[in-house]
Symmetry: C2
Subunit: 276 residues, 2 copies
């Protein structure tokens, strides 16, 4: 059945959420179709994390295991609204881990090359084994006691798809000068009530304004790697975004996410190029 792209609840009575509609892929594979609808745009075209989540979704269709555990995407060109083709490949289907790749093409030009490993996280958790947890979850007040970022503050349509509850407002939302401290700590969730899951985490880790804006610059992602460490529980996600090293026009951004039970669910890092 084709997805209902009208934004209305589907005829089956199951509510259709924005993210599921936007990442629905068509076809039997290995080449899938999808449509970029302009509602997930960052400052320079389609948000990179959204494209990476879409590629992860497509790769999942050809993998023998249910759960992405790591995905890496290289951003080749800006994405834009319109139809895309997603060409997938099973690189290897191993006994505990399988590997796949996807190329996302817009107007025949590749905008993203993504590679992923899949496994079964519940089976892995059931096997038990040692645990080491050095912590690091941000110490956030309850979301209702945090600041509220106006969705249209930056003119990026993707900001309308989320609720952001930072401890303090970013300088660009507060109307102040850059803080020179490129760290944001905040709660996030989908604005339409969709709960987080593994395939949406590559989007979450790239769906805030870059922390480096607190140094007064903007950048574009070259590469983004996301480790998916556990299935997120329903509810708000606690997030820390931080850049430690900006030099020669490049910076990294680390984005870690804990779910509402305090479990680390995603660790990500991107390399980005300063563009203004």
């Amino acid at each position: 059945m084709s997805p209902d792209l009208s934004g209305n609840p589907d005829p089956s009575g199951i509510e259709a959420f924005d993210f599921d509609l936007a990442t629905a892929v068509t076809g039997e594979g290995p080449v899938f179709g999808a449509s970029l609808d302009g509602r997930w745009n960052a400052l320079f075209g389609t948000n990179g994390g959204f494209l990476l989540a879409l590629a992860t979704q497509a790769i999942s269709k050809v993998m023998p295991f249910p759960d992405p555990i790591v995905v890496s995407g290289f951003f080749l060109r800006p994405g834009s609204a319109g139809p895309v083709a997603i060409s997938t490949e099973v690189i290897r289907a191993g006994k505990t881990t399988s590997f796949g790749q996807a190329s996302v093409l817009r107007d025949g030009k590749e905008v993203l090359r993504a590679t992923a490993a899949f496994s079964d996280l519940e089976a892995a958790a059931a096997r038990g084994g040692p645990v080491h947890e050095a912590g690091g979850m941000p110490d956030l007040p309850p979301p209702e006691h945090c600041a509220q970022v106006p969705p249209a503050a930056l003119g990026a349509t993707i900001a309308e798809r989320f609720e952001y509850r930072p401890v303090t407002l970013p300088h660009w939302a507060a109307g102040s000068s850059p803080s020179s401290n490129p760290v944001y700590e905040l709660w996030m969730r989908f604005a339409d009530g969709r709960e987080p899951d593994l395939v949406s985490l590559p989007l979450f880790v790239d769906a805030t304004a870059p922390a480096v804006m607190e140094v007064g610059v903007v950048s574009t992602t070259i590469e983004l790697t996301v480790h998916l460490r556990a299935k997120p529980a329903p509810g708000w996600l606690a997030c820390r975004v931080a850049t430690r090293h900006l030099s020669s026009g490049y910076h990294e951004e680390d984005f870690d996410i804990w779910d509402s039970t305090g479990t680390l669910v995603a660790q990500s890092r991107q390399l980005a190029l300063i563009v203004g």
Copy 2:
């Protein structure tokens, strides 16, 4: 000219270092040849960082820019001594960034899929721009005041290719129990006097024992991403290896490297699977 694999100085009078001999690729491309010689083995076959450096070397042959800035590798099977084929692809040659991919095949089976972005780091540095540096370089005593790891301590041949100078010996070298603190801080350099460069950094970031051994386990790499941030100056490299989160059989390992002038030259992270 075929590389001289004997380990003797080459006939041109230029000293041939182990790493250069081992990562020499033959052929005109896009498919190159190389030989794994068993001298870069970790506990379970060829070291992953070595394979990633070899793939980066091969990709560099088909890139219009000189410097790898980020490389991500997915480890599909263990590598072993013998001939390999390295199939390369130019994904995109852009104006400031180019992207390439390599598959390393041993006995016709793919052991590594690596993707990389290349640019010109000196041109980028010359453009200047803002700098933010949150520090983090380990505060190490001079190498001659550090501990010395016996090369054969773990039975991994790769350990004979490096000099390691940690602040304190890993538990397995000291004959003590695991410390439960999966963090190593150390100096490193090639044992044969070769100076570090960009293409060797993907090897350095995977060439120590995993820090997670301090929790009493060993693991195998699934994916490794390395950001190359600056060309390293000659001399010792200051390194920090740390695992913060081990759960459900997986852990990340962060490996950051500063050169002898205190400049951050590599930031890396891998996802690894506990195997014993």
